[in-house]
């Protein structure tokens, strides 16, 4: 296997391995932070002594390093781990296989997309060795703070510009591939739901990310060329008036940032819904319930996601007219998500469900994403958002969406398609240990956050709020969360061992071990260089499970 390959399968695996490494790194950063929150006055075990004087004194985290951990955890998880895993890895590897194409439409652009992404990640991480450390103004990089921050923020911006270029290459490629390279007979309404989610996701990335590109260019100018796009006049820093021309607007950054970052939420969730849909159809041995409604909902959700961004900004003091508009659009956008999750739930009805490892992850996704989604509703209304916004409630809400939500779907996808990639099965016992451990660990971390937030615990405090008497009762829950995080880390060992062990020793399986229907299972595992010996011709919809009169309980899309 060549390292500089244009084969979509190689690029997909490169994306997958790199993003899993980033996922682990992002987790280790926040594990450090969670331990510190539980015991803010005690030295960190194991790593406390090796962090160096700029990060910790006597093994106790410094506030500056705490800020770096939080900012880089968010950035790494959203931009370098979850999206590249969901779109770069799953999208690249599976889309050509599932639509019966020999490769992506622009293979060299595809390769360029991966290497640009890797460069972006390295540039961002390089911030950790700069004086002042990595970016420390939150994953949202709000000015004026971000403009006054140490040079790690410049690395963050440079990395972000590269990352958005990479995302542009990949989203153009993905849309052209899906529209142009579908096998004969594979009409749009015969596309697997996963392909629809990748198509919609790519449109979101294509059209939303440029807003952050623009914002990052402006912030870079503010930092290196002395402009004041986001700096108002009369700013006083540490008692000294700031010598800039002024006239800028910090709120402008927030508008541009959230114009990207709200569609980004759907970029995080749509591919996950796609994976869960494929797995659920497979384990219930039934067609998906309401496929057309799901497709329509995904499209509607994509359009609406460009109209809700300012619900992240109720605290900026926007007028009642604007906040009314964004509250209404926010309530509307919750409908299509509910439609999709309800359709998946109804798909289970009457099915003889096979509790495979991918099946367990996909089934657990539904209630976990449900909690994440429903806890979001109070945040979409200004009256309840204003008291909750700066509390751990918000952190709990979006982590339910992304961690036991999206990440569980991505794990489901890894267990489900591993046999396709390697021709070998993953060990189901280790998989089940990984699943149950992760379910317990994640809920142990995120469920307390919702209650902490409802009690008003502020989410930005270095010592977890110990210096305030009203926040002094959270010691127990902080410690429970820290131990849950450690436990979550330990059970990931089952996953890593399973991945490595199965690669070499896993049970050899046929080209279609799950008896699935979509095109990627119509070719050997692992697929050969051009995917299919002859271009498949599609004769039916994506989920022909348990067709009455058929000899088996599944019919491949390419079968007549």
């Amino acid at each position: 296997m060549r390292v500089f390959s244009t084969d979509h399968k190689v690029v997909g695996l490169q994306y997958g391995l790199t993003s899993l490494v980033f996922l682990l790194l992002g987790f280790l950063l926040i594990l450090t932070l969670r331990w510190h929150l539980a015991w803010p006055a005690s030295p960190l075990p194991l790593i406390g002594g090796i962090l160096g004087d700029t990060r910790a004194i006597d093994g106790i985290l410094l506030p500056e390093f705490y800020n770096q951990l939080g900012a880089m955890h968010g950035t790494i998880m959203v931009f370098l781990a979850v999206v590249p895993l969901a779109v770069g890895a799953f999208g690249n590897y599976l889309v050509p296989l599932m639509i019966g194409a020999p490769d992506m439409a622009f293979p060299r652009l595809n390769m360029a997309s991966y290497w640009t992404y890797l460069a972006a990640g390295i540039v961002m991480l390089a911030g950790f060795v700069l004086p002042g450390g990595a970016a420390n103004s939150g994953w949202t990089s709000y000015p004026p703070l971000a403009i006054l921050a140490s040079s790690g923020q410049t690395a963050w911006l440079a990395g972000m510009l590269l990352l958005i270029a990479s995302s542009l290459f990949s989203s153009v490629n993905m849309i052209v591939t899906i529209v142009q390279l579908r096998a004969p007979g594979l009409t749009f309404m015969r596309l697997p739901f996963f392909i629809w989610t990748q198509l919609v996701t790519s449109f979101l990335l294509l059209l939303a990310f440029p807003a952050l590109q623009a914002a990052a260019i402006l912030q870079l100018m503010d930092r290196v060329a002395g402009t004041s796009f986001f700096l108002p006049a009369g700013l006083v820093v540490s008692g000294e008036p700031l010598h800039v021309s002024g006239g800028g607007s910090p709120i402008l950054w927030q508008h541009l940032f959230w114009f990207l970052a709200h569609p980004e939420v759907y970029v995080l969730i749509l591919p996950a819904l796609g994976i869960v849909a494929e797995v659920i159809a497979n384990i219930t041995r039934k067609p998906l319930w309401g496929y057309r409604a799901m497709v329509g909902s995904a499209l509607f959700m994509a359009v609406m996601s460009f109209l809700v961004w300012a619900h992240h900004m109720f605290l900026t003091g926007m007028g009642p007219t604007m906040s009314a508009f964004f509250q209404v659009t926010t309530m509307i956008i919750s409908v299509p998500s509910v439609v999709i999750v309800s359709a998946l739930l109804l798909s289970l009805y009457g099915g003889s469900i096979r509790f495979t490892v991918p099946g367990l992850f996909a089934l657990a996704f539904l209630p976990m994403f449900g909690i994440g989604g429903l806890t979001g509703l109070p945040l979409g209304l200004a009256a309840s958002d204003i008291p909750l916004h700066d509390t751990y409630y918000v952190v709990g809400h979006f982590h339910y969406v992304v961690a036991p939500g999206t990440l569980f779907a991505l794990f489901a996808g890894i267990y489900y398609w591993f046999p396709k990639v390697t021709g070998r099965d993953m060990n189901p016992l280790l998989g089940k240990l990984h699943f149950w451990g992760s379910l317990i660990g994640m809920n142990g971390i995120f469920l307390p956050m919702l209650f902490q937030g409802l009690h008003g615990l502020n989410r930005r405090l270095y010592d977890g709020g110990r210096s305030y008497e009203m926040f002094s009762t959270f010691d127990g829950s902080f410690r429970g969360q820290a131990w849950s995080a450690v436990f979550l880390g330990v059970v990931q060992v089952f996953f890593v061992v399973n991945l490595v062990w199965s690669l070499a020793r896993g049970r050899r399986v046929s080209g279609n071990p799950w008896n699935a229907t979509t095109l990627e299972w119509a070719t050997p595992s692992p697929p050969p260089h051009d995917n299919f010996a002859t271009t498949p011709v599609v004769h039916r919809g994506p989920y022909d499970y348990s067709v009455p009169g058929a000899p088996q309980d599944f019919v491949l899309q390419s079968e007549r």
Partner: protein, 185 residues
């Protein structure tokens, strides 16, 4: 060989390259759209805003407008002839480089007059937007060179690339005309 690289797909009516360039331009529209929105927001919230002609010299901008329009027209005309006449693409590339040279001189002149990005929000926007536009001109010039370097590949592949490039140049023109209106008039 990837299907539909040179042939149109019957049910979509386009080649991969055509669809790809339109998607790329859609993304570019969002990028410049975001920047022009930032311009609008900063301008309406500013207590005073200078008329562009009172700050900047319009002469080099007029020359540059001419260079850019002729340059992209040459690429556009080149797509109407088969095989793609590389001489016209070469002249277009030289005109694009002339645009960049003029722009550099203009920046130097601005700086000599004390007009810098940090001077005012108007100038900050001027340098950022014209700078980003100049990067697009440089990118287009490089793409022209790439088109010429690949002239030995299949003539139909080259023709497809040239059509995509011509669309890109039209976009670069359109952005320039907006910039010209916003900053020099």
């Amino acid at each position: 060989m990837i299907p539909y690289t040179v042939d149109r797909r019957a049910d979509t009516g386009v080649t991969n390259v055509t669809l790809g360039i339109w998607l790329f331009l859609a993304s570019e529209v969002m990028l410049f759209g975001a920047l022009f929105s930032a311009y609008a927001l900063l301008r309406v919230s500013a207590p005073a805003w200078p008329a562009g002609r009172t700050v900047l010299d319009i002469t080099p901008a007029l020359v540059n407008t001419g260079l850019l329009v002729v340059s992209s027209a040459l690429v556009w005309r080149a797509t109407r002839v088969a095989p793609v006449p590389m001489g016209r693409v070469a002249i277009s590339t030289l005109l694009a480089l002339a645009f960049l040279a003029f722009k550099t001189l203009e920046y130097r002149d601005d700086a000599a007059r004390g007009l810098l990005p940090e001077t005012s929000t108007f100038l900050a926007l001027y340098f950022t937007l014209t700078g980003l536009h100049a990067l697009h001109v440089a990118g287009g010039a490089m793409a022209n060179v790439w088109l010429m370097a690949g002239r030995r590949v299949d003539a139909r592949v080259t023709a497809g690339r040239a059509r995509a490039l011509a669309l890109y140049w039209l976009f670069v023109d359109a952005v320039w005309l907006v910039i010209f209106t916003l900053f020099y008039l």
